[in-house]
């Protein structure tokens, strides 16, 4: 590896270069490799492949931890995410940050720079003595050993980020944490010793109890300095924050981006909380018999505190009834009363086989906390401001004995028609001209997945779905085209990622099937909406056509007969009104689903129709007043922004007619 020199921690003693290689000299080099050392060299496994991704991963790991901590403690999360540009101290490059940054032209548009990532939450805080372990030790955490749904899984994230920061800048990680109002906040500077997989405290201060660092009286603040690359667009930190806001409407997120040439002071975005309830805390579950492997079973047999097999099955697994327990034991010529310690390898093998074949109930699903349709709608609305949203939440399903829930959402039109993502050079390349392909937002346990889209099961599910059935254009075998965002969320006690960096969901048939079903459900609702949208437009056109010609017709008729054009005009207008009112009624019957009665559908009140036109079907709508009896149909306006806008006009027209008819009658 070319960068192994920089990876060498400065503390380690230099190896002696032996002139001759003997078993003895080799032996001096042979030593245990610590986990942290391994990952320091293989940092791409954790998502630190390049400076751009490193910045994102650092933010992501810290945010994941914060959200998990808040939710577990029952606190509505309040997050601050900030990335600051740090002037380089090495002297190699000119200082490129802050005010200097924009005055001095950059050498490269996306040059590597030093950034300081700051994440602050209002979580429960961390007990002082755990700080070193949590932030300084890889593979240390509360989440790995349990079968419970959470964002983090392995417990490598935040410490790996700290390690990456240390390797690239030599700066230790700063942690400030406070567990309660009446307790002091601890500020710790932590430096990781990669060779020992443990952290050294560089300095430590104790803040007074009444400092105002944490408005809620508790929380954690982490600051990591690292070499990174900040950019905008797809797979950026900005996108990550947006996606996180979508999946977590119960969290308030404030984000400050670093300065760029376009925004010398950085951009500040804040997502206000739209759901005031915490997602239901998932329960922890025991392994399901179908979800284990032989080695695991043997390990469990060795570690268990139960003495007899019957007790073992009952204690360590879920869904094994005494009857099944007996059945499984029978298959291995054992009984539930057999001593666990006496089970031999070949017997364990038989037990395993019997367990796999046993007909057991699926795992309990209370261990899952789906986002939920309503929350999904709110999240998508908050993050995207589209014209139409629908979402679906599938019933729980099981893969390899692990329960999971698939949720999907589709957002269409509105702001999506205006802001189009600029695809970056790697992964999916798009021609970018005219109609953009839909964007796929992937989430696993509420964590956005931004890389390796095409390797992800969800991406396959999306491109396999026939979107033409749902009124979208779709080039063969790829994503649908249009102002669309397709969101897929997988909630599971154990999301099968394709790699440690947690970027793509592995492609299990059961998972993809569920994704397909969820997408189809959303697709059908999208189609209903699109159809209705078109029907509305057609009805509008009809009205304008009649209105347009009535004037000419009445004038011509009056010219011939010498009659009064106005009288004919008024009469025809009244007839037209009756006609179009009939049409509206028919439409109502057809499009009942979309009328806000379906809870899984959201339609923006101020959807800007004109912009989405170009993306779907362009049928120009005349600006002329549309004629429908708005008083009878209060729901109508919500579908189209401009229709709502013309409402007062319409009313005026109608009033005018009524007045004239009245006058005529009087005379």
């Amino acid at each position: 590896m070319a960068d192994s020199a920089t990876l060498e921690p400065p503390e380690t003693t230099k190896k002696v270069k032996a002139p001759k290689v003997t078993a003895e000299t080799l032996a001096t080099k042979q030593r245990e490799i610590s986990v942290s050392e391994f990952f320091a060299k293989n940092r791409h496994l954790l998502g630190f492949d390049n400076p751009r991704k490193a910045l994102l991963t650092t933010v992501k790991e810290a945010v994941d931890n914060s959200l998990d901590a808040c939710e577990e403690a029952g606190i509505l999360p309040d997050l601050l995410i900030e990335i600051r540009s740090v002037p380089e101290t090495g002297g190699k490059k000119t200082a490129a940050s802050g005010a200097d940054a924009q005055s001095a032209p950059r050498k490269a548009p996306n040059a590597e720079e030093r950034y300081r990532v700051i994440i602050q939450d209002n979580g429960p805080g961390i007990v002082r003595k755990q700080i070193e372990n949590i932030f300084g030790k890889l593979l240390y955490g509360s989440k790995f050993h349990r079968l419970k749904m959470s964002r983090g899984q392995q417990g490598i994230g935040i410490s790996a980020a700290g390690m990456y920061g240390l390797i690239t800048t030599g700066k230790p990680v700063l942690i400030i944490t406070k567990t309660a109002k009446n307790k002091p906040a601890h500020e710790v500077l932590l430096k990781m010793d990669t060779s020992k997989n443990k952290a050294d405290v560089v300095s430590e201060t104790e803040h007074p109890e009444d400092d105002n660092l944490f408005p809620d009286g508790h929380g954690t603040r982490v600051e990591i300095e690292l070499l990174g690359k900040y950019f905008k667009g797809a797979r950026s930190v900005d996108e990550y924050v947006q996606l996180t806001a979508i999946a977590n409407p119960h969290a308030r997120v404030t984000y400050k981006s670093p300065p760029t040439s376009a925004f010398p002071d950085g951009e500040s975005v804040s997502y206000e909380r739209t759901v005031n309830e915490l997602p239901e805390q998932p329960e922890e579950i025991k392994p399901h018999p179908h979800g284990i492997e032989l080695g695991i079973l043997i390990g469990m047999l060795e570690r268990t505190e139960s003495t007899k097999l019957g007790g073992f099955f009952d204690e360590e697994f879920c869904r094994i009834s005494p009857a099944i327990s007996r059945q499984v034991c029978d298959a291995a010529d054992l009984t539930p009363n057999t001593w666990v310690k006496s089970v031999e390898h070949h017997q364990a093998e038989k037990l395993y086989k019997a367990l796999q074949e046993a007909k057991v109930q699926g795992p309990p699903t209370n261990c899952l906390s789906p986002i939920g349709v309503k929350t999904l709608l709110m999240g998508l609305e908050r993050g995207l401001k589209p014209e139409f949203i629908t979402a679906s939440s599938r019933p729980p399903a099981v893969y390899r004995g692990r329960p999971f829930i698939i949720e999907a959402g589709i957002a269409f039109g509105g702001n999506l028609a205006q802001t189009s993502s600029k695809p970056l050079e790697d992964e999916e390349g798009s021609s970018g001209s005219g109609s953009e392909p839909a964007r796929v937002y992937r989430f696993a346990n509420r964590v956005p997945l931004q890389y390796q889209q095409s390797a992800c099961s969800s991406f396959k599910a999306v491109s396999e779905t026939n979107w033409r059935n749902y009124g979208c254009e779709q080039p063969r075998g790829s994503l649908p085209v249009g102002p669309l965002v397709i969101m897929i969320h997988m909630a599971s006690v154990w999301v099968p990622f394709t790699s440690e960096s947690k970027e793509a969901i592995a492609d299990y048939d059961e998972i993809r099937e569920e994704m397909s079903l969820a997408l189809k459900e959303c697709g059908r609702k999208l189609k209903t909406y699109l159809n209705r949208r078109q029907a509305m437009r057609r009805a509008g056109e009809r009205r304008t056509i009649f209105l347009r010609y009535i004037g000419e017709v009445s004038k011509a008729a009056a010219d011939i007969t010498g009659g009064e054009a106005q009288a004919i005009y008024d009469a025809l207008m009244a007839t037209a009104q009756k006609k179009t009112a009939q049409m509206d009624q028919i439409l109502d019957e057809e499009g009942r689903v979309v009328d806000g009665k379906d809870e899984s559908v959201y339609i923006a009140a101020s959807a800007d129709e004109s912009d989405t036109d170009s993306a779907t079907q362009s049928s120009p709508r005349s600006p002329a007043t549309t004629l429908d009896d708005s008083e009878d149909l209060p729901e109508q306006g919500s579908l189209f922004g401009d229709e709502g806008a013309t409402k007062p006009k319409k009313k005026k027209v109608i009033k005018k007619i009524l007045k004239k008819v009245k006058k005529k009658r009087e005379s």
């Binding site: 347009r548 004037g551 000419e552 017709v553 004038k555 011509a556 008729a557 009056a558 007969t561 037209a576």
Partner: protein, 381 residues
């Protein structure tokens, strides 16, 4: 309703009108009044337009002309597909009425411009192109039972005449023997009040398909040698030409012979001259000449006149389909010679123009072909 009467009498007193004009105006007013009445009653305004399709025409075997049936189609304002047409119908009806009242005539194009304007409050024009107004005007003729002339409209001149006849056109005497190389341009309106026949020595009429052939005959003074009238209709003859032929045929007892191309188009021209057109079946009785004869070109002429391969123009799929369609027309279906003629053409697999005879000799058609056919009474009927 009371006010209406006042304005009507005021506007009607601008020009001196013929009784026929009064009748047309009454028809127009009647239609508009029906629309008004229905509209004021809060019902859908509708006008009935007689259908101008083959299905609504019948061949009167006794008179040997095409006649229009009674089928009509309702044109509604409150129908998405008909709204604009309805508006155009009313608009052109109003335009026509004011034209008649002013005592003036307009070309079809003039009428198009008269009624062309942008609809208030929109960017849409009342009429797309002239074909739209032409079509609606034809509808109006049928609806009102008025001829185009009665609507004070005329088409552009397309048709030429020369021969041993003297006529008066709008009071001017015209000697068709002294028309130079250009000939007399047949106007669109040839009704007796405009055109009168003064002196006729001719014994028959030779109608040729187009101007180029007509020029050949005129230069060779065919009409002088054979004492006839020579006409041409620029392909499908316009109504003025057909009406003039009809009048000369009936009033001067002149037989009509047609020299047309050997292709479905030529056959249909003959069909229109003889039985009337499908589109304007309502005018057949004053235009169709059932006694008109088809002199050539015949499918057998390729061999009979020993023409070369060069004159062949291959029939395309559309020609073949059209030929079969024409063969099925009731006025052709029972005529064996015509069935054989069309079969022969299809068997040949090519069509021939009258000009193809020029390959024999420049004046072969005027000096040999037509005189021989006439002498031998060799024609199709």
């Amino acid at each position: 309703m009371a006010k209406k009467q006042v304005t009507k009498s005021a506007s009607a007193s601008t020009a001196t009108l013929t009784p026929r004009d009064h009748k047309t105006i009454a028809n127009l007013t009647g239609m508009a009044e029906r629309v008004t009445k229905v509209s004021l009653a809060g019902k859908d305004p509708i006008v009935d337009v007689p259908t101008r399709t083959l299905a609504n025409t019948s061949f009167n075997a006794k008179r040997r002309t095409l006649e229009m049936g009674d089928a009509t189609q309702a044109r509604e304002l409150f129908n998405l597909n008909q709204a604009k047409k309805f508006m155009q119908t009313m608009l052109l009806a109003a335009g026509t009425k004011s034209l008649i009242e002013a005592g003036k005539t307009l070309s079809l194009r003039g009428m198009y411009y008269k009624c062309l304007h942008t609809i208030a409050g929109t960017k849409e024009k009342t009429l797309g192109d002239q074909s739209e107004s032409d079509e609606v005007l034809e509808d109006l003729e049928v609806m009102l039972g008025s001829l185009r002339e009665e609507l004070h409209l005329f088409a552009k001149k397309a048709g030429t005449m020369v021969g041993n006849i003297t006529i008066t056109d709008s009071g001017d005497e015209i000697d068709c023997r002294r028309m130079g190389s250009g000939g007399y341009a047949i106007p669109s309106i040839v009704e007796p009040d405009v055109m009168k026949f003064k002196k006729c020595d001719a014994k028959f009429i030779l109608h040729v398909e187009k101007n180029t052939v007509w020029s050949r005959f005129n230069e060779d003074k065919f009409w002088q040698k054979h004492n006839c009238i020579l006409t041409e209709g620029g392909g499908q003859p316009p109504r003025g030409v057909r009406r003039l032929l009809y009048r000369m045929h009936h009033e001067l007892n002149l037989p009509v012979y047609c020299l047309l191309d050997c292709d479905p188009w030529g056959h249909y021209i003959y069909s229109v001259l003889k039985q009337g057109s499908i589109n304007l079946a309502f005018e057949s009785e004053r235009m169709a000449i059932p006694e008109a004869r088809f002199l050539g070109i015949r499918a057998i002429d390729y061999e009979r006149c020993e023409l070369t391969d060069d004159v062949q123009i291959a029939l395309n799929d559309r020609d073949i389909a059209r030929a079969k369609q024409i063969a099925e027309y009731p006025w052709f279906v029972n005529k064996k010679p015509w069935q054989m003629e069309i079969q022969r053409m299809l068997k040949n697999g090519f069509k021939m123009e009258v000009e193809s005879l020029i390959t024999k000799d420049i004046s072969y058609v005027t000096e040999t072909y037509v005189p021989e056919r006439l002498a031998a009474k060799d024609w199709l009927d």
